[in-house]
């Protein structure tokens, strides 16, 4: 069994360093080269251990000035849960009015992360 090197582009800042990440035979992080700053090293480690992303999408609004409210996960969630999280979010709806920052789904998929509104949607007056 031997070590393995994989290449990736750092996405922390616009420089986009080309990283070479060395993993052990179990795929565990050993070291990284090519990063120009410590944030790149942290990114590489997380990326091969448990890659995470913020999920921005939208939720249906009932009785609002708009049919949708844009939302995001408050923090990054594991990348592998993104499609499952989308299922939960797509089957949800909220009643207007919605305030920016309002928690619309608590602790999605038990990640400890809330889904929050990223804009205001006023109620529609009929």
């Amino acid at each position: 069994m031997s070590e393995k090197t994989i290449e990736m582009t750092c996405i922390v800042c616009p420089i986009g360093c080309n990283l070479k990440v060395t993993l052990d035979s179990n795929g565990k992080f050993l070291s990284v080269t090519g990063n120009r700053c410590p944030r790149g090293a942290a990114y590489a480690k997380e990326e091969v251990t448990e890659p995470k992303r913020i999920l921005p999408t939208s939720i249906k609004v009932i009785g609002g000035e708009l049919p949708l409210v844009s939302v995001r996960t408050e923090k990054a969630i594991p990348k592998k849960l993104i499609f499952e999280a989308m299922k939960v979010i797509r089957s949800s709806e909220v009643k207007a009015p919605v305030e920016r920052g309002q928690i619309l789904i608590k602790n999605i998929l038990s990640t400890g992360v809330n889904v929050i509104a990223t804009r205001t949607v006023k109620a529609r007056f009929v």
Partner: protein, 407 residues
């Protein structure tokens, strides 16, 4: 005709226009914002993804958050929504605008153009074949999906690898649309690397470089497209491939919106309004900022430019004496875009340039002076330059160039 009068009038309520409102208000003048939509924000409203605000708010926000948080800083200005400017009489400082309740004649002390950009349409590519339904620009598809709750189709191909195209590849994938691939005619990507990683690699969406569409198929609805490899801007015979799809998303560039003012002010060969380091056009009391001077990567840059344009417009409206233009910037070898074309000899300022091809290590020079060394320079990523006029000889043309450093 109703008549109004303001110190500073701002055309466009997107990021640049909101910045200009803030800049002008800081100088205690009367401010009118004119916006064609029913609210401020411009394209930020439909850019629901994160990546905004790292410089202005020191944290990563989505477009709608950036819009609302910035708007909360603005107090004490008038706004006319659902209003379009018809004509600008720059000699007399009067514009005509039409709103839902009639035509207005508005006298201004200074004007800020913050009209942004429009998408280059698919038709501009002059691709043979039919024109069925199912062809959208990326921003239009984004508007449908993010604001109106409509999907453009079921199986899509994205033409062009600009940032909005990459963002839409991810967005449509999340909403259950199959993205067959992203096709880029150039040998390098059009958008930011972080978007190629987060939007394509994360979802195993292939990016085909030096490849683009050569034919459109279908009568009523799009049935498919033919793509081919490209070399030197021409399709290579024998490399054609048919792709079955019902949707084509075109992300083939943005064009600065200056139709209204092209007869009044100097426009560069790239279509942007030509400004100096004060964001002033060749007309002393008309300023411009944001995507109508050149296409920017980050909204944060646009906000800062807008603030400067608004502040300086207000100073002109108050009859302050402003510095004269002294130096002229020219694009030299390796440079495609420059954001500022003239310099006054006042304070150090920031300007942006784009290189015309990717370079691993490149040196940016002004005439014979080294300004900056840049790693991984790409046309898709703007380079920020801080220019201090006091440190340079401003006589003659100031030629900016970028050359690759061979290691």
């Amino acid at each position: 005709m109703k008549k109004l009068e303001y110190d500073v009038v701002i055309l466009g309520g997107g990021a640049a226009g909101m910045g200009a409102v803030r800049g002008a208000l800081s100088q205690k003048v009367s401010v009118l914002l004119i916006e064609r939509e029913a609210s401020t924000g411009g394209v930020l409203n439909q850019c629901i993804h994160n990546g905004f605000g790292v410089q202005v708010f020191k944290r990563e926000l989505t477009g709608p958050e950036y819009h609302e948080m910035y708007l909360e800083k603005l107090e004490g200005f008038d706004a006319m929504y659902e209003t379009t400017v018809l004509d600008i009489d720059s000699e007399n400082g009067i514009l005509k605008a039409i709103s839902t309740d009639g035509v207005y004649e508005i006298k201004y002390g200074a004007l800020v153009l913050a009209t942004g950009a429009r998408e280059r349409p698919f038709e501009a590519l002059r691709i043979p074949g039919s024109r069925p339904s199912g062809i959208f620009t990326a921003g239009l598809a984004q508007h449908f999906v993010n604001l109106e709750n409509h999907l453009p189709g079921r199986k899509a191909v994205i033409i062009g690898s600009g940032d909005i195209g990459l963002i839409m590849a991810r967005r449509l994938t999340l909403e259950g649309v199959e993205i067959e691939g992203v096709y880029e005619i150039m040998p390098y990507q059009g958008g930011l690397t972080r978007n190629v990683v987060q939007c394509l690699k994360d979802f195993n969406i292939p990016l085909y470089l030096s490849t683009s569409v050569v034919r459109v198929h279908g009568r009523e609805r799009l049935k498919g497209i033919t793509v081919a490899k490209f070399a030197n801007g021409k399709p290579v015979d024998g490399t054609e491939r048919f792709i079955n799809c019902d949707t084509l998303i075109a992300s083939v560039g943005l064009i600065s919106e200056n139709d209204l003012v092209e007869k009044n002010i100097e426009i560069s060969s790239d279509g942007g309004a030509v400004v100096d380091d004060l964001m002033r056009t060749n007309v002393d009391n008309i300023f411009a900022a944001g995507n109508n001077i050149c296409i920017h990567d980050l909204v944060d840059f646009v906000t800062v430019e807008g603030e400067m344009a608004g502040r300086n417009a207000a100073r002109v409206a108050k009859n302050e004496k402003m510095a004269k233009r002294i130096g002229i910037f020219k694009k030299g070898k390796g440079i495609r875009i420059i954001s500022v074309h003239y310099t006054t000899a006042s304070d150090p300022f920031k300007m942006y340039v784009r290189v015309d091809h990717p370079m691993n290590v490149c040196t940016l020079r002004m005439n014979d002076t080294n300004l900056k060394t840049v790693l991984n320079a790409k046309p898709s990523e703007m380079i920020e330059l801080t220019f201090d006029p006091s440190k340079h000889n401003l006589k003659g043309n100031l030629v900016l160039s970028a050359t690759e450093v061979k290691r």
